[in-house]
């Protein structure tokens, strides 16, 4: 079947929804003429024109608010942040407005809004490297979606666009699978698996809130997203050779979270490791540990092991950055701890 990279798959999902539904518009910095800093919106301006693809000034709070206003009045807005680190400039609009409007209006207002952009540590220093999903998993009223493969990405972006709630769609720079025209080297990572690259051309939707078991196993369950999912799979492959059977689950969506799939797996393996690139304290890994504690306590033969970024701003120096972000060997150590007890 035809193969696509992550950026191209996301782009295809957006294009197909924009063709199918005139109410879908795009807002963001350099998304039109330039095609997006990571090429995701390449050529969309040519196809859909300036009334559907808005090249905005550098005004994150402002154009997020524009997206909300558009979403409240009959459009479906897709807002791109050039790096997700910049969404904090729009935090009030996201947390206090977009996420709360539906409830504040007693359900009379809907906010079909997709907030998307890239994240992940790639040697850019603290202001261009953080993983932000934890802040939004903690924000009621938001959905949070994270594709780890091109196949998932297309199906999830289509569902996100069709959803009537604000959806944060988190992309990882290292998974885009293409060089950034914004001047970056072609980013890549040795652990990235060539999986889920067969992408059907016809539109398809993957429901938000359904986890995917990316690898079946018996001895221990690893729950991971984005780049960490790939590192978990790389480790699972290694450990297979060592006689350890690892099950790897990709939640794909953190809000809503598919607790059933996770609980069923832990009930089977009795051992769990959660891995996330966001910082540990009160982050995604904390919630996954707490969720497993809530639902699977009596199934556990060892404490759930968590692997997450060190609680620090991401340093620039490569050796330090590497230490701050979970590596395959960190996941291995956690799996061994989970198996040791």
């Amino acid at each position: 079947m035809r193969q696509l990279g992550l950026a191209a798959a996301i782009r295809e999902g957006i294009v197909q929804e924009m063709r199918a539904d005139d109410s879908v518009i795009l807002l963001g910095e350099d998304v039109g003429k330039f095609g997006g800093a990571f090429h995701v919106t390449h050529d969309l301006l040519d196809e859909f024109g300036a009334e559907r693809v808005w090249d905005t000034p550098i005004s994150e709070a402002g154009f997020t608010g524009l997206g909300i206003g558009a979403a409240l009045t009959g459009l479906r807005a897709i807002v791109e942040y050039q790096y997700l680190d910049f969404i904090f400039c729009a935090m009030d609009q996201v947390v206090n407005q977009a996420a709360k409007i539906h409830l504040m209006s007693g359900g009379r207002a809907k906010v079909p809004l997709v907030l998307r952009g890239p994240q992940g540590a790639t040697g850019r220093g603290a202001q261009h490297s953080q993983s932000i999903e934890g802040y939004f998993m903690h924000t009621p009223g938001m959905k949070v979606v994270l594709p780890s493969t091109p196949y998932d990405a297309k199906g999830l972006i289509i569902s996100a666009i069709r959803d009537d709630n604000p959806v944060l769609f988190v992309e990882h720079k290292l998974l885009y699978g293409a060089a950034s025209p914004g001047g970056g080297k072609a980013l890549s990572d040795s652990a990235i698996q060539a999986i889920g690259m067969d992408v059907p051309e016809a539109p398809y939707a993957i429901p938000l809130g359904e986890a995917d078991i990316k690898r079946e196993g018996e001895d221990v369950t690893i729950i991971a997203t984005l780049l960490m999912l790939h590192r978990a799979l790389a480790l699972a492959e290694q450990m297979q050779a060592e006689g350890v059977s690892v099950e790897v689950i990709d939640p794909r969506s953190l809000a809503p979270l598919d607790v059933e799939t996770i609980a069923a797996s832990v009930a089977k393996t009795n051992r769990a490791v959660v891995v996330s690139e966001d910082t540990a304290r009160a982050g995604v890994s904390a919630e996954l540990v707490a969720t497993i504690n809530d639902h699977c306590f009596y199934d556990l033969e060892a404490p759930v092991q968590r692997v997450a970024a060190v609680d620090a701003p991401i340093p620039f120096g490569p050796a330090s950055e590497r230490h701050a972000i979970p590596q395959v060997e960190d996941i291995r150590a956690a799996v061994l701890r989970a198996l040791s007890d």
Partner: protein
């Protein structure tokens, strides 16, 4: 500058004004006033939940602006939003029920005073984070343009809100793209305790439009027809593709900032002077002067407005309190 403007007490010049319009405006202003007067009383005497911010003395801005709009034009409001809702035809019953956190409220008891909303009336929301409604209204204007609906979007906000970054970001984009948006600064001269001169380097707030090459106007916010006229021009420009307008309406917050706030930071004489510039009485005097109505007719309208607010209170009394789990239905929208 706003702090030192002379206060006008003269009757509103109603010569040649459409009588139906005058009557509607007068009635709406009275309803807004009466609604808040009753609220104040109800807060004192009943277990009304939450808080409220009164726009007593500012009614000419809300009513003057909205009277120049079509029913399907949209507005965003603020923490001080009762008058905007009244002007936009949100039913008094729904508003009062919302104040009492009833299921029949305009937001089903989920929003309250600071978030009174009614989508069916083009009221997109009352945003209580100062300034946050400005880009949202701008997005509604962008949407009207994309959908080719011919609607205009109006954002109401206070003199304090102009110092929020979103004011700047939104006005730049609206002017850059000539969106059909109208920005109404309800300059009631205070942001809680802060005067305009204490918080704005350029106290002439309408003049801030210069930074966006945007047309602007400064009007007597207690002269409802002046507000109406300025808005009408802005609406015409917006519908004709001429882009946004910034309108500063000078008025005064007769009451404290919220509920029982004493506003001791204001000179008594200043408050007194503005009380004598009451926009409702100035309109009444103008209508009489122009022979548009008789004193008897005015009293009649006053009585009707009071009766409607009374009826809304009775209605709210008959409504059902929000239940413990009601809100669970409103966390996520069904797609």
């Amino acid at each position: 500058m706003s702090a030192t403007l002379e206060i006008r007490r003269d009757p509103v010049d109603c010569a040649g004004a459409d009588r139906e319009l005058l009557l509607r405006i007068f009635r709406k202003m009275l309803e807004a006033r009466e609604f808040e007067e009753q609220l104040y009383y109800l807060f004192l005497t009943t277990a009304m939940p939450g808080t409220m911010h009164q726009a007593v003395g500012q009614e000419a801005v809300a009513v003057g602006v909205v009277s120049a709009l079509k029913a399907d034009d949209t507005i965003t409001s603020t923490h001080r939003g009762h008058a905007h809702c009244v002007a936009k035809d949100v039913p008094l019953n729904d508003m009062m029920a919302e104040m009492f956190a009833k299921r029949e409220g305009s937001c089903r008891g989920m929003g309250g005073s600071m978030h009174l909303t009614d989508f069916s009336k083009g009221m997109l929301g009352a945003f209580a984070i100062v300034g946050s409604g400005i880009p949202i209204a701008t997005g509604a204007a962008l949407s009207a343009r994309v959908r080719g609906s011919g609607q205009v979007a109006v954002s109401f906000f206070g003199d304090g809100a102009v110092n929020e970054g979103v004011f700047h970001e939104a006005l730049n984009m609206a002017a850059l793209w000539k969106l059909p948006a109208i920005y109404i600064i309800e300059n009631n001269q205070y942001a809680l305790s802060m005067t305009v001169a204490e918080s704005s380097a350029l106290p002439d707030l309408a003049a801030r439009a210069c930074a966006y090459d945007m047309p602007s106007a400064r009007v007597d916010g207690n002269d409802v027809l002046a507000v109406y006229e300025a808005t009408r021009e802005a609406v015409e420009r917006a519908r004709a593709g001429g882009g946004p307008t910034l309108i500063e309406a000078l008025t005064y917050r007769i009451r404290g900032h919220a509920r029982f706030e004493a506003a001791g930071y204001r000179p008594e004489a200043e408050v007194q002077a503005w009380k004598e510039a009451d926009p409702i009485e100035r309109l009444a005097a103008g209508m009489i002067a122009a022979g548009a109505v008789t004193e008897a007719q005015l009293s009649q309208i006053r009585a009707e407005a009071e009766a409607d607010v009374e009826a809304a209170i009775d209605y709210a009394g008959r409504c059902t309190d929000v239940g413990a789990e009601d809100y669970l239905a409103y966390i996520t929208a069904e797609t």
